[in-house]
Amino acid sequence: MTRWGMAIDTDRCTGCGACAVACHAENNIQTVGEVEAARGRAMHWMRIERYYEGVFPDVKVRFQPVLCQQCGHAPCEPVCPVYATYRTPEGLNAMVYARCIGTRYCANNCPYTTRYFNWFAPEFDAPLERQLNPSVSVRPAGVMEKCTFCVQRIQDAQEVAAQEEREVRDGEIKTACSQSCPAQAITFGDLDDPESLVALLARTERTTHLLEDLSTEPSVIYLRGGR
């Protein structure tokens, strides 16, 4: 079986945020503007959390890229009254926009707060819409959205592999964030393939998960920093 997963090396990550902008470009994420952003409605499927430790001059900064953890045991799934979010056979936490009726229960129940609600119909000042990725739906008002692990890229790579009558190779699929990362901090791949780089990284002693004690079984692995 395939179980898609991601390893993020927090010792490589510098917090530059290129991943977050790459995600906007790839996934047609709308910007909401100053007023709505002030109401907490900005949508960042991928965000960089910044933590301070200590007081001046002994301040340490930690950056942590946070995206949907694609939980194996996802708190968002059982609360959806219309089954718009569920676990796919390949280990993705799917979000079916066409099914979503906008109760926002899932967002309330996500301990990582990585689900974002479309409060408004998306607007792209012409001709900005020419940049929109045709492989990704533009979500209408009233539906929830979140990181998909760039499912369109996964499917495209699977399709190419199928046409060439072979398996998808490790490293062939790069999510937008992982492709862009100047520090190569983000590795994407199949956790069920013991030979894959992501599975290798998952086996190191630096491995940790976000909010591990909640038993959400995230598919995103953080590699602890050395600082």
Binding site: Y97, A98, S135, S137, Q155, A162
Partner: protein
């Protein structure tokens, strides 16, 4: 195959207006393969349409006096590079947020006619199957043991 005939064609939308009265049947009668014009259907999400130059390369000689061909050649020669805008006959509404790919269906051996009807016998392409009906897709996906995971199509 009885599934194909869900609903009778009268309930389906009429064929949309097109820039010229193109006849599929005439082209099929002349033994032109679907894939000759609908390039990429085996490898891409979209089944393409050829550029006007491709049509013109044959029609300089073939049926050059047919009124629709004359109309086309006129546009090709004097249209100032303006593109031709055809309208899709089979449209899945955007609100469904479906990303349909032709290539896996062709690879799975699904005949074009399964979804598009017997275009070869149509003078004007029109919908015979309600492609916007998800139940119809799923019936086939179940029958063929293809993915019925929502995210396969909806993302």
């Amino acid at each position: 195959m009885a599934l194909v005939m869900v609903g009778c064609s009268d309930e389906l939308p009429p064929p949309p207006p097109q820039p010229i009265a193109f006849s599929h049947s005439v082209h099929i009668e002349n033994e032109i393969e679907c894939t000759r014009c609908h390039e990429g259907v085996e490898t891409q999400a979209q089944a393409g349409l050829p550029a006007m130059a491709a049509c013109a390369s044959c029609h300089r000689r073939q049926a050059a006096d047919h009124p629709e061909v004359v109309k086309f050649m006129e546009q090709y020669a004097n249209g100032n590079g303006e593109p031709m805008v055809w309208r899709k006959v089979h449209v899945i509404p955007t609100s469904a947020m479906v990303h349909f790919k032709h290539s896996p269906h062709v690879r799975a051996g699904v005949d074009c006619a399964t979804c598009h009807g017997d275009v070869g016998s149509m003078t004007v392409a029109q919908q015979v199957v309600d492609v916007a009906n998800m139940g119809w897709c799923l019936d086939c996906h179940r029958e063929q043991d293809a993915s019925i995971d929502c995210m396969t199509c909806h993302h």
